[in-house]
């Protein structure tokens, strides 16, 4: 009798013991559109439709096993950039689940059998309803500010069951941001160089204005001012308007394949801007993801731009920072050649203030 009771109690204890962690594994949170998201356990098959999220998932997760689908434009960044070298298997991840405009191909999506789909919110039901109607768990994120970026990265880490990865990441972002802000907060407008970012420049120019724009935010963070601040969001502009703004620094996007700084130096009007005359034209680096939009390497973007906008105030050792960051994010040791590739050293090595980024 007693032995049976003891065995019974032991069995019960064992059952309760194993059941408790299973309950604790259930993950639920509210996404950035206020929807409740709940997962039975850490997500094992994630599809990312927003472009920066593919590399963010890989970075937070520390590998590619849990990423099963991504945006074709994310794939382009992987194959052109260094992430495809660090994680060779990422080149084989399915990118047919959505088109470049974030419209999901639901059948391809369902075929991949995801347990979590990350999608943009705030852009209408056409992007979201097909996914939720198919019964797939969806997490919606919003673009624009550093706060939102941290928010959705935190959710992604929670979904992956790795909140501690996020905690270290956000601590790093916060540290760098505060360090830069402390020195730039009080810079008056007259001492802030005008920075102009071209979202497109070949075959028609668009400039990044202010108003829910991440680029505008970090230009101001590093002590510059947005030359195109009067524009609301990203808008088409002509050469005359750029000449009227006369930016001190020009940055180019990473979305146009084959874009080089010659696009500015060869243009008859753009080549006479202060930026071009002083050789302060730079293409944004392409690392684990494009450095222009918000992503897991953003603090590196801020440091890079701070060194270029205010070389007298900031002398970050970018190469060392990159090596440390890539080790933490991807467990990868950057070579000197890798860093030169990310920073487009071949193309803009002789640009103003770029010596600070050269290998010693």
């Amino acid at each position: 009798m007693n032995r049976t009771l003891v065995r019974g109690l032991a069995a019960a204890a064992l059952l309760v013991g194993t059941a408790l962690p299973a309950c604790a594994q259930e993950i639920s949170f509210t996404d950035q559109e206020g929807r409740a998201v709940s997962l039975a356990g850490p997500a094992e098959r994630i599809v990312t439709i927003p472009m920066p999220m593919a590399s963010s998932v890989i970075a937070i997760d520390g590998g590619t096993e849990h990423l099963v689908g991504m945006n074709p434009v994310s794939k382009a960044a992987i194959t052109e950039g260094i992430l495809g070298k660090i994680f060779a298997e990422s080149r084989d991840i399915n990118d047919a689940v959505t088109d470049a405009n974030f419209v999901p191909n639901v059948e391809a999506l369902a075929a991949v059998d995801p347990d979590l789909v990350i999608q943009w919110g705030g852009r209408g039901g056409d992007l979201v309803d097909p996914i939720t109607n198919a019964g797939l768990t969806t997490m919606l994120i919003l673009y624009g500010t550093e706060e939102l970026t941290r928010g959705y990265m935190g959710m992604t880490a929670a979904a992956l069951g790795k909140p501690e990865r996020f905690a270290e990441h956000v601590a790093w972002r916060d540290e760098v941001m505060k360090e830069i802000e402390a020195r730039t907060r009080d810079i008056p407008e007259g001492d802030r160089p005008k920075v102009l970012h071209f979202g497109r420049i070949l075959n028609g120019m668009t400039a990044s204005g202010s108003g829910n724009n991440y680029t505008d935010w970090y230009i101001n963070l590093v002590g510059g001012q947005n030359a195109a601040a009067e524009l609301d969001g990203s808008k088409p502009v002509n050469a005359e308007q750029v000449a009227a703004w006369d930016p001190d620094i020009i940055t180019l996007n990473n979305f146009e394949p084959g874009l080089t700084v010659q696009a500015v130096y060869d243009d008859p009007v753009l080549s006479l801007t202060s930026a071009a005359r002083n050789h302060r034209v730079y293409r944004m680096p392409l690392g684990g993801y494009r450095w222009d939009p918000p992503n897991q390497e953003s603090p590196l973007t801020w440091m890079w731009l701070a060194n270029l906008v205010h070389p007298e105030l900031f002398q970050f050792d970018l190469r060392a920072e990159m090596k440390a960051a890539y080790k933490t994010l991807y467990n990868y040791d950057l070579s000197e050649a890798d860093i030169d590739g990310v920073l487009w050293m071949d193309m803009q090595g002789d640009a103003a203030n770029y010596d600070a980024f050269k290998a010693r």
Binding site: L231, P236, N238, E256, P268, V269
Partner: protein, 354 residues
């Protein structure tokens, strides 16, 4: 129309007093000159008027000189070709609209009716999708505009003849088909690569005008305008009843297709360098008709002058109103559509009143 009521005599005599014609032409020329000067003088980058005169004077004296200053480059390399191209396109589109309206004997048609603009736009969208720019893009746009026309001809030709109504309907069919194909191209394009270019270009813009583009489009536009102007008597006759026209020695079928081909030539050249610019061919001939009457000998030149002035004015607004460059098609539609609505109502009120 007055010509058919008065027969032969009506065709030969001008229906509007000479003094009014002269006043209209002088006014239109003055207006064109004004818009050209304003176009070269204003812009987001402020340049002093005296400085502009100096720059232009120096360039006329020495056309191949090196342009070192940014204001020189803006005036000579950005504004002047843009204003000239807008003027040429405005004139060419207006005269093609007037010619089409004469051929169809209906003032409510334009190059878009024949599906030529849509065909040219499709060629351009496909070329951009495959990353083709420059001269090959122009060739593709022009050829696809012509192919749209050929398709219309093929569909409309029944038993060796093509009725006007059939041609209009075929134009609508072909136009709708090419529009759908353009939407397909947009759907397939990568938003971070060619797509924004396609969308922006389909709304029409002279923002990317350079001297090179001007020189590429100018021959097509000029030849089209000159030959259409040469057909002015024929157009008067084509606006007669078909039997009357044949009895006067015209060959309406052949001449109609000649006009169509010239319009395709003009529209293809224009779409190739600036995307689809609509409403010019529809609205300007009406305004010209109000001033100088239906006779093509006076209507065509008046349309050209007014069309040129109008498009230069609208394009100048598009690039100066705000810091962002407004696509031209938006402005021409915003102005053109209400004006056209008024003209439409007047036209049908007149028709039912007779």
């Amino acid at each position: 129309m007055s010509a058919s009521n008065e027969g032969l005599a009506g065709v030969a005599r001008l229906s509007v007093p000479v003094s009014r014609l002269v006043a209209t032409y002088l006014g239109a020329i003055a207006l064109l000159a004004l818009t050209l000067i304003a176009g070269i003088g204003v812009g987001r980058y402020g340049v002093d008027p005296t400085r502009i005169f100096a720059i232009i004077g120096q360039s006329i004296a020495d056309p191949v000189r090196e342009l070192g200053e940014v204001d020189e480059r803006i005036v000579i390399l950005v504004r002047v070709p843009r204003v000239l191209l807008a003027a040429l396109c405005g004139a060419a589109l207006a005269i093609s609209g007037a010619a089409l309206q004469g051929v169809f004997r209906n003032p409510l048609v334009s190059p878009q009716v024949l599906g030529i603009s849509q065909g040219a736009a499709f060629g351009g969208a496909m070329a951009i999708l495959f990353g083709i720019w420059g001269l090959p893009l122009l060739a593709i746009v022009f050829l696809s505009g012509l192919s749209a026309l050929a398709l219309v001809g093929f569909i409309a030709r029944i038993n060796g003849r093509s009725e006007i109504v059939t041609v209009i309907l075929s134009g609508m069919i072909v136009g709708a088909m090419f529009s759908a194909l353009v939407s397909l191209a947009q759907f397939l394009a990568d938003p971070n690569g060619p797509l924004p270019a396609i969308v922006y270009w389909l709304m029409g813009s002279f923002a990317s005008t350079t001297w090179e583009r001007l020189l590429i489009a100018a021959p097509g536009l000029a030849i089209g305008m000159i030959v259409l102007w040469g057909l002015r008597f024929r157009l008067n006759i084509l606006s007669l009843d078909e039997a009357e026209a044949r009895s006067l020695g015209a060959r309406p079928e052949l001449e109609r297709w000649l006009v169509f081909a010239l319009v395709a030539f003009i529209v293809g050249s224009q779409v190739a360098v600036s995307g689809i610019v609509g409403w010019i061919g529809l609205v300007i001939p009406h305004a010209a008709r109000l001033l100088v009457g239906h006779d093509h000998r006076t209507l065509l030149p008046a349309s050209m002058l007014l069309g040129a002035a109008y498009l230069v004015a609208v394009d100048t607004l598009a690039r100066t109103m705000t810091a962002a460059e407004i696509p031209l098609g938006i402005l021409t539609a915003l102005v053109g559509a209400p004006v056209f609505a008024v003209l439409l109502r007047n036209h049908y009120r007149e028709r039912s009143g007779r």
